[in-house]
């Protein structure tokens, strides 16, 4: 082994029209180390990785592997330069087997049978070498996300990758799976592989990386040794100002029961039971957090409460029954009963991306007499004015109500939705993934708003896959797994490990 860096970028720049996505980026990563790249959404991390994997061509700059200058015009070139990529959204063919996915694009000849035979043998070797066990004949859609991620890593290793780039690898994993992933990465590092880990989670950077680079607005603001920095320091480098990482809140003072859900069951179109007799309650002045890995029934629960999925069982709000299947089971009637909803997917359910901010600011409440000029016309001028005021209060940038929703960043889109729902003064607020794809600065603001609403004595049901968020915001935590509530814990008396076990459906070991 020489002393050359495994991979080195010098002065990489890339612009999309007037937007400078990467400006003069330089990184150098030594072999056998894990290098973290951290930055907010839109900081240019993904663009940089796309350049490394041959999706984009850099406007300027050079790339070296092991001291040799290389060109990466396409993915094939990246692969042959020994660069392997594990994308945030896996690039797997769902109805192919593990083996077929690994072989795809790296076949050894025209015919499939010998390729598959060779891959099967090599896979067994790789599995033994890196402790990466996967059933080669399993079909991708039938294995869990943790396994799918292993397949992605194996794909890269099968192509003889020496440099492994992982983009937000823990976003879809349980804490236990994430732990496993980090063990695998540690093992790969020991075997001399070089790993670049892209993430927005400060804790992961602190846990596993050797060196870390911080990106902000397309520029590399700092590269430091992980052991010589702190999360607070990194957060400040990311955002450009001091950030409060923990949520500041007083103990809850819960009052009367607002939401009572009992034995809620949902069967989907395919006949699968998505919710299995879920019962829970939320009182005024408290936040109930629901933790769980995505896809365990949380979305269905929100959809039922929000009025756009039918279910059996019962829901009572402020003591009176809610219609679950009949004609008044819709978002409109739910809002009339004082239920506001910040949906999980703001771009699909929360906003109409091609409509302006002021139009988006009244959806769901557009029949409100305050918005009407007379029987036929809406009072658009007043709505615009009101929206501008709301945008000022919620610090939406730019504060221009005439801009279409898609022109705002993720955090500002979320603030528009939040402003719409909170300012209606609901009794119950449903919030799904409030900070998904939102930058740190905006997260701080959104969390403050949610806690403030609680302190006004409102009931809040929070659903999030971010365990940190659940733990720091909630007054009580319930964990969902496979459509059931596995248990409820006090966030001050539990820990990630216990919740992680519940999230994986293991109750027995999680009992105190």
């Amino acid at each position: 082994m020489t002393n050359n860096p495994a991979i080195e970028l010098k002065g990489i720049s890339k612009a999309f029209g007037p937007v400078q996505a990467n400006r003069d980026i330089s990184i150098s990563v030594m072999p056998g180390t894990i290098h973290g790249i951290i930055g907010e959404n839109g900081a240019g991390k993904s663009t940089l990785m796309s350049i490394l994997y041959g999706f984009y061509k850099a406007d300027a700059g050079e790339i070296f592997t092991d001291g040799q200058k290389i060109l990466i015009p396409d993915s094939q070139a990246a692969i042959s330069a020994g660069i392997g990529m594990v994308f945030q959204h896996f690039k797997l063919v769902e109805n192919f087997t593990v083996l077929e996915n690994i072989v795809l694009g790296a076949e050894s000849g025209e015919f499939l049978a010998p390729s598959l035979r060779k891959a099967r043998a090599e896979l067994a070797e790789l599995a033994a070498e890196y402790e990466l066990n996967v059933d080669p004949d399993a079909v991708i859609e039938e294995i869990g996300v943790g396994m799918q991620q292993r397949v992605e890593i194996l794909k890269a290793l099968y192509r003889k990758a020496n440099i492994l780039i992982l983009d937000e690898p823990t976003g879809v994993l349980t804490p236990a799976e994430a732990g496993q992933l980090f063990r695998i990465l540690g093992r790969l590092r020991k075997e001399g592989k070089t790993i670049i880990l892209i993430t927005h989670k400060l804790r992961e950077i602190m846990d596993i990386t050797d060196t870390v680079s911080v990106m902000r607005r397309g520029e590399m603001t700092a590269t430091v040794k992980t052991s010589e920095t702190s999360p607070e320091n990194l957060a400040e480098l990311m955002v450009g100002r001091k950030v409060l990482l923990s949520v500041d809140k007083t103990p809850a003072q819960p009052k009367h029961q607002v939401l009572e859900v009992s034995k809620l069951t949902v069967v989907d179109e395919a006949g699968v039971r998505r919710l299995k007799e879920v019962s829970l309650n939320v009182r005024a002045g408290e936040i109930l957090g629901i933790a769980g890995v995505a896809g365990n029934g949380q979305s269905e629960l929100l959809e039922v409460l929000g009025g756009y999925r039918s279910a059996t069982g019962s829901i009572r709000v402020n003591g009176s029954e809610i219609d679950l299947t009949g004609s008044s089971s819709d978002g409109q009637s739910r809002r009339a009963r004082g239920i506001a909803h910040v949906p999980e997917d703001r771009q699909r359910e929360g906003l109409i991306m091609d409509f302006t901010a002021w139009e988006n600011a009244i959806f769901g409440y557009h029949r409100d007499p305050n918005h009407q000029l007379n029987r036929f016309l809406m009072n658009n001028a007043a709505i615009r004015e009101e929206t501008a005021a709301k945008m000022a209060r919620f610090d939406v940038r730019p504060p221009n109500p005439n801009l279409t929703a898609k022109n705002f960043s993720g955090g500002n889109q979320q603030k528009i939705v939040l402003a719409r729902e909170i300012e209606r003064n609901p009794d119950l607020l449903l919030v799904g993934q409030p900070t998904r794809g939102v930058d740190i600065g905006a997260i701080e603001f959104i969390h403050k708003q949610i806690v403030a609403l609680r302190d006004q004595g409102k009931a809040i049901l929070l659903i999030s896959v971010e365990l940190d968020e659940i733990l720091s915001l909630s007054d009580r935590v319930a964990v969902m797994f496979d459509g059931q509530i596995m248990g409820e814990r006090d966030p001050l008396k539990t820990n990630e490990k216990e919740l992680g076990l519940l999230m994986a459906g293991i109750i027995s070991e999680a009992k105190e």
């Binding site: 990246a78 959204h89 063919v93 795809l104 694009g105 015919f111 794909k155």
Partner: protein, 379 residues
């Protein structure tokens, strides 16, 4: 119905299923790669015209076949350009090709031959002739020989070369799709093009390859219709086969061997239509069949939504009513009275089957997941 009639119907099934099968496999390649092709119909029509016109002009059916394939591939390339390179809507591009072919074939035929938008009848040499296996006997002696000889001479022997080619295309397609590198990549590109792209393979290249294969198979099908099944080009002679093949493709759940079965079934209905213009059934059996259909429908909608119950239940009631009418009208003459089934009904059987298949009565068919979606590389 004696054995010879059955053999003759099956023989005709095979001939009529051949173009469907070729087109169905053409669609299979295209759709497996994620390119929906509603323009199959236009391609076979164009190929039928060009092959007939060129075969007539040159006197060689082989030149005609090549020209037909060329025309179809050219339309495929247009579809590819619109839907792969320019990322346009695949349905619109396909519909445009259908219109283009329907109009252009007649106009060019009129300008070329001046016979009212058709080509002159093809002479020997300009047609694919039946291939007679050794020892096979001609049709007129068929009644005098045993069933094995009838089977051999009528059903197996005596088809044009393209019928055998179509049958061989089935195992060949299966082999290409499931046993080769090309097939793996082709199937992957229809399911998740991003996976193919990140593996360093050109999505565009794979999709063009699939579309071109589709063009070649449609070309053979068109040439078969004009130069083997019939002996000239006539206006709209593709007769909806492109669409029926699409229905067969869904019926076959995008699999080659299933496609063979589905196309033979459709071919069988066409053969019945060809062979039996007048079907007489005793009143009791006709009314029984209708009643069974009505009960079947009622059973099917039992657990369905209200709208299904109204529409299909209404249909079932209608069928039951017709059945009662038949019984009532035949009552005085006795229930064994022979009743003639309308010719139009027999003729519409393949199309009714198409509707039934498309309405999803045959279970859920899952199309390739990225079908119809142009691939745009994400960052």
């Amino acid at each position: 119905m004696d054995f010879l009639i059955l053999i003759q119907v099956l023989d005709s099934t095979l001939r009529l299923a051949t173009p469907l099968l070729l087109v169905c496999l053409a669609g299979l390649f295209s759709e497996r790669a994620g390119i929906f092709d509603i323009g199959l119909e236009g391609k076979i029509l164009a190929a039928a015209f060009v092959s007939a016109a060129v075969a007539y002009t040159t006197g060689s059916v082989w030149v005609g076949l090549l020209a037909g394939i060329g025309a179809s591939v050219m339309l495929s390339a247009i579809h590819g350009l619109a839907s792969i390179t320019l990322k346009g809507d695949q349905i619109i591009s396909g519909v445009a090709i259908n219109f283009l072919a329907a109009g252009l074939t007649v106009v060019v035929a009129q300008a070329w031959f001046g016979q009212g938008g058709r080509t002159p009848p093809l002479q020997s040499g300009g047609r694919f002739e039946p291939i007679n296996f050794p020892g096979a006997i001609p049709s007129k002696e068929m009644a005098d020989v045993g069933p094995v000889m009838q089977l051999y001479s009528e059903l197996l022997s005596g088809h044009s070369l393209l019928v055998y080619v179509a049958l061989l295309t089935v195992p060949l397609s299966w082999f290409v799709l499931y046993q080769t590198r090309f097939g793996l990549r082709l199937r992957a590109v229809g399911e998740n093009p991003a996976a193919v792209d990140t593996a360093g393979i050109s999505v565009v290249g794979m999709r063009y390859a699939a579309v071109i294969i589709c063009g070649v198979l449609c070309g053979i099908a068109g040439a078969y219709i004009a130069t083997a099944l019939q002996a000239s080009f006539t206006k709209d002679m593709s007769a909806g086969r492109g669409f029926i093949a699409l229905a067969a493709l869904i019926f076959a759940k995008w699999r080659p061997w299933y496609a063979l079965g589905a196309c033979l079934l459709f071919g069988f209905f066409f053969a019945i239509d060809n062979r039996f213009q007048n079907i007489l059934l005793p009143a009791w059996s006709l009314s029984g069949v209708l009643l069974l259909t009505a009960f079947g429908l009622a059973g099917y909608v039992w657990r369905k939504d209200l709208l299904d119950k109204i529409v299909l239940g209404g249909l079932g009631l209608g069928v039951a009513f017709v059945s009662v009418l038949i019984v009532a009208s035949a009552w005085s003459a006795g229930l064994s009275t022979q009743i003639k089934i309308p010719v139009v009904f027999i003729q519409s059987l393949p199309y009714i089957l198409t509707v039934v298949v498309l309405a999803g009565f045959v279970g859920k068919a899952i199309p390739p997941r990225s079908g119809g979606v142009p691939y745009v590389k994400e960052k």
